[in-house]
């Protein structure tokens, strides 16, 4: 049997099918040719496993020893089949079966150690071959997975595990295969085209006064903006930073005060009966109606805006946290009490985690309304910030800057909501898993 025949045989065998040809040549060099007569025993159960065999012609009976839980302990092997794979297993170097030739049989044998050493040099190919070995042992020999688990790995990262990145890439490729991205970009195209054509090409009545698409884009990305605000000017980032800082302070205060208040409102009936009515009387007053009063109460220009932003977030956070506590099944608290939990332990182990999903819904609403009232606050009073940019650009007839402000607000607002959502998913992985198990 010459080199070419051996390569052809390897190519027909299941584990080596995908191996590149230069590698196949190297493997073929390790192979030794042998021929047996009818009735010859190739190896007995318990022999030391040194070589892997591939049948070239003839038939071999493969009988697994007692004690190996295979569904079909007997198997007849034909040309291209692989046996004797115990030689490539980790910690399992004795034969699991007895093999007898049923007619005149030709086969090649490859030393397991040498094969593994060869694969160490090119771990990627090695891992593919070995995972195919594992599949073969599992499927064709109907052996349990724990036996297949002894097949060695060569690369550091096990190829079978879906890591975060591969999962993301997989989802991305699935998404690209669906019609979604194409429809999405068509939708964006229609939106932008409508803007462009109505304002700048057809110059429809009313639309013609609006800042057009190209004007806004030129201004936004210009190094020397006509109206003084673009991505190259430091003022642009200063405005963003001022707004973000106000949001951060207000959101932080609202969370720190709103979450405990909501927890207590839900937990203690007495506390709720005293505090909730006052809360409910104040709540229908729109946040924005507070603007003049906030200016009166907090002197200066910074605190009123923060107060307005805080107030909006605070209601959302406290109310949702309270709802979260109310949805907790009463029997959980009772079970905890039966098991001897103190009031504080029940609060810490049952109430707080139970209210978490609603709490994070509340925080998401909270960050949304925070931006909503921040803009109003900045437009009416306050200096700097994106709302201020929009309002002053209007009064000073810098129309393209209004649109820049709006787009920037959209981007920053969206990013902050996404961050809160991610934080929520991260802290409530048990819930994400629960939803995933439910098929959602």
């Amino acid at each position: 049997m010459d080199q070419n025949q051996t390569v052809a045989l390897l190519k027909r065998s299941m584990p080596f099918q995908t191996v590149p040809s230069d590698m196949l040549d190297a493997i073929a060099k390790l192979a030794r040719y042998e021929s047996y007569a009818r009735g010859d025993v190739i190896y007995h159960q318990g022999d030391f496993a040194d070589d892997v065999y591939i049948v070239s012609s003839g038939t071999v009976q493969h009988t697994l020893g007692i004690g190996f839980q295979a569904t079909h302990p007997e198997k007849i092997l034909h040309s291209g089949d692989v046996f004797g794979w115990a030689a490539v297993l980790d910690n399992q170097r004795s034969r699991l079966a007895k093999t007898v030739c049923m007619e005149r049989t030709e086969l090649i044998r490859i030393n397991g150690e040498e094969l593994i050493n060869l694969f160490r040099a090119s771990p990627e190919t090695g891992d593919i071959v070995m995972s195919r070995f594992a599949t073969m042992i599992n499927k064709e020999y109907t052996m349990p997975e724990e036996v297949a688990g002894h097949v060695p790995h060569f690369t550091q990262v096990p190829v079978t595990m879906a890591t975060g990145l591969t999962l993301t890439m997989f989802r991305l490729s699935q998404w690209l295969k669906s019609p979604k991205p194409y429809l999405m970009f068509t939708g964006f195209g229609i939106l932008l085209a409508t803007w462009y054509f109505t304002v700048e090409v057809w110059k429809l009545p009313r639309f013609v006064d609006m800042p057009g698409l190209t004007v806004v884009m030129k201004e936004w990305f210009s190094k020397d903006p006509v109206y003084g605000l673009s991505i190259y000017t430091p003022e642009y980032y200063q405005h963003i930073w001022v707004s973000v800082r106000r949001i951060l302070i207000a959101f932080f205060l609202a969370t720190v005060l709103g979450v405990p208040l909501g927890l207590f409102l839900g937990w203690s009936k007495t506390f709720r009966e005293y505090v909730f009515p006052v809360f409910e009387t104040l709540r229908p007053i729109p946040i924005l109606a507070w603007v003049p009063l906030a200016i009166l109460m907090f002197q200066g220009s910074e605190t009123p805006v923060i107060y307005l932003t805080f107030l909006a977030s605070f209601y959302a956070t406290a109310l949702n946290t309270m709802l979260g506590v109310e949805t907790i099944d009463e029997s959980y608290s009772r079970a905890a009490a039966c098991l001897g939990a103190s009031k504080w332990q029940t609060f810490k182990e049952v109430i707080v985690p139970g209210a978490m999903p609603f709490m994070f819904t509340g925080l998401q609403i909270s960050i949304g309304v925070a931006w909503f009232s921040l803009v109003a606050g900045e437009m009416v009073s306050g200096e700097f910030g994106l709302g201020y940019v929009i309002n002053t650009s209007y009064t000073m007839v810098r129309y393209p800057t209004i649109v820049i402000g709006m787009i920037t607000l959209g981007i920053v607002g969206y990013t902050s909501s996404a961050l809160v959502r991610m934080a929520g998913d991260y802290m409530m992985q048990w819930r994400v898993r629960e939803l995933a198990l439910g098929g959602r």
Binding site: P179, K180, L183, M184, T186, G187, F188, I190, L191, R206, F207, D209, M210, T270, E273, Y274, V275, F276, P277, V278, T281, L282, P284, I285, P286, I287, L288, A289, W290, V291, P292, L293, I295, L296, M297, F298, W371, F372, V375, A376, M379, V380, L386, G387, I390, N391, S393, Y394, Y399, I402, V403, G405, M406, I407, L409, G410, I411, G413, Y414, S417
Partner: protein
């Protein structure tokens, strides 16, 4: 017996506590506001707020003022205009997006990039675009309710169990039957919720829009409650600010309650028995 039951209904413990709490709140507010006159130093923050008794006096004076009621009328009109426009456009749009996958793929991403822009950021653009101030305020109010309504309708329609469609179809329903008997009843609760939330937002937005744009074109007393508040602030009659705030609170509360009542009438199967 009957009197006893009445007394029980009126004075149960939680109601009593609510009354006590609100009373204590008002007393603390009164003391805080009057701290400068009474103790010679102003309590921080509350010290600058007009006292509740002064507010009541100011309110009593305003009850006979047609300008005050005109403000109510103007704001209500704007809220209703924006809100109904949002319902008329938003509900069909949300339903159609839920039913047609291609349309959803086309429109939803654009919708999602416009949604994070707060409605009030649209105020200047809206003033430039619309010929009258009235229309521009109505447009901003419309935007406030529109996104909420669409999202709620879409969410409601998407959460319908597909087996309902399959069973309706296998029993020979027409498209219209599926819409009338499956989609509409299933989305009605979320339409009601979306409208109630949207109504709350329209009141928020109308106030701010009135403040920012400086009231109606007629000027003076015709500008709506938001303008009433702003005008009181500029004119230095601080009691009236609080009157305006409470008025808007009442208006928003009444309209949300009316919507909830209407909603519970439309969705009798959700009522608690």
């Amino acid at each position: 017996m009957n009197a006893k039951r009445l007394r029980k209904a009126l004075f149960n413990r939680s109601k009593l506590r609510a009354v006590i709490a609100i009373f204590v709140f008002l007393v603390l507010w009164e003391i805080g506001s009057r701290s400068k006159e009474w103790f010679g130093f102003a309590v921080p923050w509350i010290g600058h707020v007009p006292a509740p008794t002064a507010v009541v006096v100011a309110w009593y004076g305003l009850l006979g003022d047609p300008g005050y009621w005109q403000s109510w009328y103007m704001s209500t009109l704007r809220v209703l205009a924006g809100f109904f426009a949002a319902m008329v456009v938003g509900i069909p749009l949300g339903l159609f997006m839920a039913v047609n996958r291609t349309f959803n793929g086309l429109v939803f991403p654009s919708f999602e990039i416009l949604r994070p822009i707060p409605p009030l950021a649209w105020v200047p653009a809206s003033i430039i675009f619309w010929p009258s101030q009235e229309l521009s305020i109505a447009f901003v109010t419309f935007l406030g309710a529109f996104f909420t309504i669409v999202i709620n309708v879409l969410g409601g329609a998407k959460s319908i169990d597909p087996r309902y469609f399959q069973s309706a179809q296998s029993m020979g329903s027409s498209q219209w039957d599926v819409f009338r008997r499956v989609v509409l009843p299933a989305t009605l609760p979320s339409i009601v919720v979306g409208s109630a939330v949207g109504m709350g937002i329209t009141w928020e937005v109308v106030v701010a829009a009135e403040m920012i744009s400086g009231g109606g074109g007629s000027g003076g007393s015709g500008g709506g409650l938001g303008f009433f508040i702003w005008n009181s602030y500029v004119g230095g009659s601080y009691e009236q600010i609080v009157v305006g705030m409470i008025s808007i609170g009442i208006a928003g509360f009444i309209s949300s309650e009316l919507l909830r009542k209407l909603g519970s009438y439309l969705t009798p199967w959700l009522r608690k028995r």
